[in-house]
């Protein structure tokens, strides 16, 4: 690994100024779970790392009646997994995080870093997408809030500017009669990166029709993506085996998996189809329970 300058700002403004000063040659650093690997491999060779861990406002999770859950970018995977505040409203987080990498990565890897890395083989992004989460981003000119889908542009490529920092993830309150399920499929060991990860959120209307439907697929395209055709097929329908099978087939078609060591393209499309069906069934059961 090439040596670099190591800077420790204590405010977001200071951090953004430092990033700006290096004009794209510095990187924000939090847990280092991702950066340590790509820097050792020489894929990234920043002149400086800006450690943002001393910035107090980026830590912690809080719940706000209006905005919902506000997750600081420096929240580690393990903190999200074990957070009472987060899991009281969104037990899906403990369910997802339990299987993320291993205990050591969960202790250092952060929610913000996970999203900002643009790593396509990941879990959290799909869950946030189905929950209509937004991300708050700070830069030298101020801050902005965007839907999480607009963060991801391509493999390891996000819409974050060189001098911007992802500061928070905002998850709005879930409407009543909503159910969420995430299924991660690993093709080798449980601690491997996922081969396919599917998240589904269903919200039922008064007549039991599927009112809000979100289907997010991970690891089967350059970025996590919403399966819009599958969502359209389900929207407004009553839950049933036929319509779920149609949506599952549509989702398997609208992604673009590549053949690699975790499975062939055809295999991954098959997995998407099965996971969409299974996740939809569980999400529906949970929505019914939350009457």
């Amino acid at each position: 690994m090439r040596d670099f300058e190591y800077l420790e700002p204590t405010t977001v403004a200071e951090a953004c100024d430092l990033l700006k000063r290096y004009g794209g040659e510095a990187r924000p650093y939090a847990g280092g779970a991702y950066l340590s690997i790509v820097m050792r491999q020489g894929l990234l060779q920043p002149k400086a790392l800006v450690n943002i861990k001393k910035i107090g406002e980026l830590h912690g999770i809080r719940c706000d009646a209006k905005d919902g859950l506000i997750i600081g970018a420096l929240t580690t995977h393990r903190e999200l997994e074990t957070s009472k505040v987060a899991n009281e409203k969104f037990p899906i987080f403990a369910h997802v995080e339990r299987d993320v990498a291993n205990i050591r990565v969960r202790n250092v890897g952060t929610v913000g870093g996970n999203l900002a890395s643009g790593e396509p083989l990941t879990d959290l992004a799909q869950v946030f997408m189905t929950l209509d989460a937004r991300v708050a981003i700070a830069g030298p000119a101020g801050s902005r809030v965007i839907p999480i889908e607009e963060l991801f542009l391509d493999f390891y490529h996000t819409s974050l500017g060189d001098d911007e920092i992802l500061t928070h993830v905002i998850v709005p309150p879930l409407p009543p009669r909503s159910g969420v399920e995430y299924i991660r499929f690993s093709s080798s060991s449980v601690v491997d990166k996922p081969c396919v990860g599917v998240c589904i959120r269903l919200t039922l209307g008064t007549d039991d029709a599927l009112n809000a439907v979100r289907v997010a697929l991970g690891c089967v395209a350059p970025t996590p993506l919403r399966a819009r055709k599958a969502e359209e097929i389900l929207s407004g329908q009553r839950f049933g085996a036929g319509v779920i099978e149609q949506a599952a087939s549509a989702a398997a078609e609208e992604c673009s998996p590549t053949s690699d060591l975790r499975g062939s393209e055809r295999f991954k499309r098959g997995i998407v189809r099965v996971l969409v069906r299974r996740a939809a069934e569980t999400a529906y059961e949970r929505a019914i329970e939350r009457r």
Partner: protein, 169 residues
């Protein structure tokens, strides 16, 4: 920040940044000079001579390099030493109480929970963190917590038994 930065000229013409850090390692205060890119594993092994933790996969997968930072298991091969400034570090050398081995070390010996021993330090520290967090874990909780530590000699059965024994089962 500024007071902890020191410039020192290396042999070549380039100027390298050395950082002054303080660690509490196995209960002892240590002050060290490290380069920004130095990993916690290299620092602990090369500067402090604590070689129980091993370099394995170098990508946070195998667990051979596990150290406890403020009580939590981390992959020291991928943890910057500068980032550990001010932290409490526990290595396997710090597990025993004088001549008295830690109950986990005793249990690993009783069960023969190792062959080559390369992974053992990582397993011991991870198991310690687990038992500190959850003194009476279920089999499933032990398996989940230790799932990120690999033993290529395949002593998993014995390791499970040893951790259970140390937990008082």
């Amino acid at each position: 920040m500024a007071n902890s930065v020191r410039l020192s000229l290396s042999k070549g013409s380039d100027i390298k940044m050395k950082k002054h850090i303080r660690l509490r390692v196995n209960g002892l205060e240590r002050e060290l000079e490290v380069s920004a890119r130095a990993t916690l594993l290299d620092t602990v092994r090369d500067q402090l001579g604590l070689t129980a933790a091993k370099l394995g996969c170098e990508m946070q997968v195998c667990g051979a390099c596990t150290l406890l930072v403020d009580g939590k298991p981390v992959s020291a091969c991928s943890y910057l030493a500068v980032d550990a400034d001010g932290a409490e570090i526990l290595t396997t050398e710090g597990l025993a109480d004088g001549d008295k081995l830690h109950p986990l070390q005793e249990a690993f010996m009783d069960w023969g929970a190792l062959q080559c021993g390369y992974c053992t330090s990582g397993f011991l520290l991870t198991a310690k963190a687990l038992l500190d967090e959850n003194p009476r874990p279920s089999d499933e909780q032990i398996r989940d917590y230790l799932a990120g530590n690999f033993c290529r000699c395949g002593c998993y059965g014995e390791i499970m038994q040893a951790v259970k024994k140390a937990a008082g089962f």
